[in-house]
């Protein structure tokens, strides 16, 4: 897996390179500012970009903007965005930048290396991974909506699906059987009027599309 990495803090950049390399990724470029990132993203052979939101020279959201711009040039370019804080607004913009192959995680999630690399891999394969904090913010916002019809267990299941997990992973996280998860999912889809029976990715996309709808 060929990875482009953009992170301005040298300590964290080196750590990430080490971590990704140790897990079998090929870090083709590790850059520290937005212009270098934009240049690196023009390489058509990369499989995924891991990008910090805040980058020099402006130290605002250059990384995010560069990622979205790159996805406009190369639709579906897998991008994993990392940040010191998560913002519902940015999640929405990333989700709106094209279907799938998007990740948005808090930086501190690298504390669990296996989980983190797995998330990068899922994004590279076209999946969607949202940080639990983003999902929580979206779910909290949706209090007064059809989400209220879901049971507590179904809400947990929906949140885990939004984080991009497979049925098996959801079952493991909730400590239930995969069959029980499938039942929750079909119940969720019925209550939210979503098409039933689609494959994993399409279902996640449907859920996310539903979550990012405004109002």
């Amino acid at each position: 897996m060929r990875v482009v990495l953009a992170e301005d803090l040298a300590l964290l950049r080196d750590g990430l390179v080490r971590l990704l390399t140790a897990h079998g990724c090929d870090v083709v470029a590790a850059v520290e500012d937005a212009p270098a990132l934009e240049a690196a993203l023009t390489d058509p052979t990369i499989d995924v970009a891991v990008v910090d939101v805040r980058l020099p020279p402006g130290f605002t959201d250059e990384g995010l903007r560069a990622a979205i711009a790159a996805r406009a040039r190369r639709p579906g370019l897998p991008v994993m965005v990392l940040s010191q804080y998560v913002e519902h607004l940015y999640a929405r913009e990333l989700l709106a930048s094209g279907e799938g192959a998007i990740g948005y995680l808090l930086k501190e999630r690298v504390a669990d290396p296996a989980e983190f690399v797995d998330a990068v891999r899922r994004v590279a394969e076209g999946g969607t991974v949202l940080d639990p904090e983003v999902v929580a913010a979206i779910m909290a916002r949706r209090r007064a909506s059809p989400l209220a019809r879901l049971t507590a267990r179904e809400r947990e299941t929906l949140a885990l699906m939004a984080e991009g997990r497979s049925n098996a992973a959801v079952a493991a996280a909730l400590v239930v059987s995969e069959k029980a998860v499938a039942k929750h999912i079909s119940s969720i889809f019925t209550k939210l009027d979503l098409p039933v029976g689609a494959d994993d990715h399409r279902r996640v996309r449907a859920v996310l599309a539903w979550l990012r709808e405004d109002g």
């Binding site: 939101v53 903007r65 804080y85 504390a111």
Partner: protein, 442 residues
């Protein structure tokens, strides 16, 4: 302003015409006093007249407020300054000293009182140096002449018109006035009546506006008031900043700092256990990892309260939009700002909007909320409106009061319009110089 029937204006003008009597008396007295200042005896006269003029001015101010429907600022005589005796006080003091030296003993009570007869003179002299006293005198001269004439016009137009019409009928019948002249009288009466009906209210307001303009405090008084306001808002700002620093210190101390200490402790134990009991060491490492997560969460929350990152990234409109996204109520955000305001203003307005929105969520039970960011010629204006239950009162809730305090440091204002039953409109306005054109960071 819509035209109103002239009845109220006529009533008010009648009162003003009656008040002409004291105005004229006081003005004449003041003029006589001023003329006599050269020979000295005018000073006590001026000192005695001015408080009366001030009382009259207050009465006129109330009339003007009723006519104009707005608050009218009023000049005020400076309170007598006892600490500054002025040159007359100096003369008095010298006279006392010289007399005592000549007599070779301290003065008795009666003798001392004879000398302090200079007191009214001194007060008169002080008054003459007070700019606002001169403004009051100028106003009273107007009220006794042109102003009274204007009010008299309003009062007399209607009766004069009626009188002319009656005469136009009576005179030809009783005194044989030619009908041609009667027609002229009738036309004059009709014209007078039309003018009163059509312009009586405007004339009444003209008088009120003139009073208001003449009674407005002078530049010096306004500046003094401004200094007072600034001192108050500065001390409020300093208090606020100090309280914020204390809060940040406490949050760091109880949050991230404490967690780092415990992290060090855990890692120390890991170092001891790593060889003897690897399983326990692994458990402690997991604990250490979750502690770093908690410390980071604390820091994130703290940063959010100091200066939200999204505000730095996206400016006011982006940050308000982000705020709106996280609320359970749908919020429509309209952004009409031509550029990013200066950072301190941006931050203050952001927190003011955040507090206002929090207030809406907590109390308004609104189904719809809207925020509009707008640029005035030299101000930044934010409207936060909702269709909730209303009844928001900054005097009661500490939240909205805090908003006002935050903005006052920037000469900003908050106006809350929230009748019981709603809807609520909170308007925040901060002076702001728009210099740079809108640029989007890329």
């Amino acid at each position: 302003m819509t035209r109103r029937a002239p009845w109220a204006a006529t009533g008010r003008s009648l009162v003003l015409v009656v008040l002409w009597v004291p105005c004229a008396l006081l003005t004449v007295a003041a003029l006589v006093g001023l003329a006599l200042v050269v020979v000295g005896v005018g000073l006590p006269v001026v000192a005695a007249v001015l408080p009366g003029v001030e009382r009259l001015a207050r009465v006129h101010r109330r009339r003007a407020e009723a006519a104009l429907g707005r608050a009218v600022p009023l000049v005020a005589l400076r309170p007598p300054d006892a600490s500054d005796p002025g040159w007359l006080g100096q003369v008095e003091e010298d006279a006392r000293r010289l007399t005592e030296e000549a007599l070779g003993r301290p003065l008795g009570a009666v003798e001392a009182r004879a000398l302090t007869g200079a007191e009214p003179f001194r007060r008169g002299w002080q008054r003459l140096q007070d700019v606002d006293a001169w403004r009051l005198l100028g106003w009273s001269a107007f009220a006794a002449t042109g102003g009274a004439l204007l009010s008299a016009c309003v009062v007399l137009l209607a009766p004069a018109a009626v009188g002319a019409l009656v005469l136009a009928v009576v005179l030809p019948l009783a005194a044989g006035l030619p009908w041609g002249w009667a027609a002229v009288l009738a036309v004059a009466g009709l014209l007078g009546g039309w003018a009163w009906w059509r312009h009586g209210d405007a004339l009444g307001r003209l008088r009120a506006a003139a009073d208001a303009a003449l009674l407005a405090p002078g530049r010096q008084t306004r500046l003094e008031q401004r200094v007072q306001d600034l001192a108050a808002s500065r001390s409020q700002t300093v208090d606020h900043a100090a309280a914020e620093l204390r809060r940040i210190e406490r949050d760091l101390h109880d949050g991230a700092q404490a967690r780092l200490v415990s992290l060090g402790l855990t890692l120390g134990m890991v170092a001891e256990l790593v060889e003897s009991d690897p399983a326990a060491a692994r458990e402690l490492l997991d604990e250490a990892r979750s502690t770093t997560g908690a410390a980071l969460r604390d820091l994130r929350e703290l940063v959010q309260g100091i200066h939200p990152p999204v505000l730095a990234d996206r400016g006011l409109s982006g940050a308000v939009e982000a705020l709106a996204l996280d609320l359970a109520v749908p919020v429509a955000v309209t952004d009409r700002l031509p550029a990013r305001p200066p950072a301190p203003i941006e931050s203050a307005v952001y927190f003011a909007v955040a507090e206002s929105l929090a207030n809406v969520v907590k109390h308004a039970s609104a189904a719809r909320v809207w925020v509009r960011l707008d640029a005035g010629a030299s101000s930044l204006r934010v409207d936060v409106g909702d269709d909730g239950v209303g009844g928001a009162d900054p005097a009661r809730g500490s939240g909205l009061r805090g908003v006002g305090a935050r903005l006052s440091a920037f000469d900003g204002t908050m106006v809350v319009d929230s009748p019981p039953g709603g809807p609520t409109l909170i308007t925040l306005e901060v002076p702001c110089a728009w210099s740079s054109p809108k640029t989007s960071p890329s």
